[in-house]
Symmetry: C2
Subunit: 355 residues, 2 copies
């Protein structure tokens, strides 16, 4: 795949750069932004000419529907730099398609490929110095769209803003993540918006996660809201369970985000002759597997951390510590996937796209 560029775009360059103020080796995720951002407004039923301009706050009406009705979606992707200083994206067309699926579910206009991918290409060309080489460095890309149209009436807006902002990132090792299996709270409803990357899906998790944090757990593994018996996904990650030598992960559904890391790991595992079963895993199964020792690993999968190993889980006031496995499938897959993303291994799947 090759990214088409966009010609119909305005570019206003920043007269200064913040790049020298950034300590790229000690950077906390998601808090530093590059010099430029992309903006494209939707008005009168049409996408207007996009503009790349210096990163800065912008003005918006207090009655903008994003503030009142949460009409907002986003994506998360990463750019990597290889040894030849070329910049690469990982399956960007998947993010583009998922973004527009989210848009439809949230009654927002779909963003043209030219603006989303073409605009991103232009932006990355301008910001390529912000993509650092090696050592798990990457540039996190955050495309998002908000309803800027005014009015305190619960109905879709007439005006929207699509933006792309960029944030340099280190590989992040989150430490030993302990999780709680949700018994009461939930993330998504049947027939709800859980499969969309909609803003409203995330803030609802903050309070339950805070309660979990207070008890010493970093994350929650969500279960289905009707019965709380099926394991679904973590906060911003899909979840895999390794029982003996088979990996299990829930099928995607209306309640679960169709993660790009998840589906890449499934393909990669298959190529490596690791058994993967896509099916619902029951909480009871997990508890039993933990008790009889067949539960070897649990890990989250998502763009930000790629793979995040989980060291144990709590359920009904009981805590189950996972064994320390020698032959971690999680670490093996993480290494293989990261090498593909950073062009240190052959991309036999054709997943990487050069800017």
């Amino acid at each position: 795949m090759e990214l088409k560029t966009i010609e119909n775009i305005d570019i206003v360059k920043s007269s200064t750069t913040k790049i020298n103020e950034v300590d790229f080796d000690n950077i906390s995720f998601g808090n530093t932004f590059t010099d430029h951002m992309l903006i494209c407004d939707y008005a009168n039923g049409e996408w207007q000419k996009p503009i790349i301009q210096p990163y800065a706050p912008f003005t918006i009406d207090p009655s903008a529907k994003v503030f009142h009705y949460g009409q907002a979606i986003f994506e998360g992707m990463k750019a990597y730099k290889d040894e030849q200083d070329d910049v690469w994206l990982f399956r960007p067309e998947e993010n583009f398609m998922r973004f527009n699926k989210s848009a439809v579910r949230m009654a927002m206009p779909e963003v043209p490929e030219e603006v989303f991918l073409g605009g991103l290409k232009k932006l990355l060309e301008l910001e390529k110095d912000w993509v650092k080489k090696g050592n798990g460095s990457s540039l996190y890309i955050r495309p998002f769209m908000i309803a800027t149209g005014p009015g305190v009436v619960a109905a879709p807006a007439m005006f929207y803003r699509f933006m792309i902002i960029l944030s340099p990132a280190k590989s992040y090792y989150s430490g030993a993540v302990k999780v709680v299996v949700a018994e009461h709270f939930s993330r998504a409803a049947n027939g709800g918006i859980g499969a969309a990357k909609a803003a409203g899906n995330y803030s609802g998790q903050f309070y339950p996660t805070k309660l979990a944090n207070e008890k010493g757990y970093q994350q929650i593994i969500w279960t289905d809201d009707a019965t709380h018996t099926k394991l679904e996904e973590a906060g911003t990650m899909n979840v895999f369970f390794r029982i003996n030598d088979t990996l299990y992960t829930a099928p995607t559904s209306e309640r679960i985000l169709d993660g790009i890391t998840r589906k890449s790991l499934i393909d990669l595992a298959k190529r490596e002759n690791i058994k993967v079963e896509v099916r619902s895993v029951l909480v009871d199964e997990l508890v039993n597997a933990a008790k009889d020792g067949s539960l070897k690993e649990i890990f989250g999968a998502g763009t930000a951390a790629v793979i995040s190993p989980i060291s144990g889980f709590a359920y009904k006031e009981e805590y189950f510590e996972l064994p320390n496995v020698e032959d971690s499938i999680a670490m093996d897959l993480k290494d293989k996937l990261t090498k593909i993303q950073t062009k240190l291994a052959d991309d036999t799947f054709g997943w990487t796209v050069k800017i």
Copy 2:
């Protein structure tokens, strides 16, 4: 109840007014705003000094968490003017308490009473000319809070903004509202945020409502997401069903907003010796009651329309038209409640509060 005022507040008056440009008799709901707004920022773990200033767009960072994670809540209330030109609120302490309940659920800081109610009092004193007398006129009040803190990390923000904006409104007659009973889509999950007035609860309804609109229905009556057998509430209204001479409305729950209109109507109906039962109504019951003629009325209850009569509902491709009742309980209760709110009837409940 009396509203305490706030002394520690800055007031910057607008040098002009838009009031003469407004045609108060022909005003569409939620699109016109008064001259001033209230802003109060939360930073460093504390609420700062609030300010009332001219209504205007404000600047915000593109990475503000409200845009990405939907950390946003709101309230909806109304001010009325009586024959003596006094301005009245309806149960404002209920909105204040519900707002802070929503804040807790969304991991946002609670707003002090002094800022929410005291600030509102100051703002209304300044804007009292915008509250028109009689004829169903009112001033719609929209307090809301958004996460202004930056960072594309899914965790609660460190900075928030509380605002109040005001929008003049006419009594709105929505016409004969036809609804669809939800068979697939849903509004809220068990253990989710449905009971909070959180922004994320609303935009998820836009797409299903659009599909309903395309089939000629204006609204959706939501059902429980697990079984779709229990009738819950409408988009921004609680729902009542009149079967024979008894009113039924679902109990509030984690999935249902605890509406102030709903609970006021329950009390009012009881005073009027109308039988009210608070219990889940099943879709099957509704269909059977429609078929055997015992279903007399359905109506939505909420601040914006007070009561919104529903003329029929669709379920499983079948449409059930409601009879034209002579002795509408909906219309009777609406009249009585509106008279209390506008001080045309004795407020035996002590619901109204003078500014």
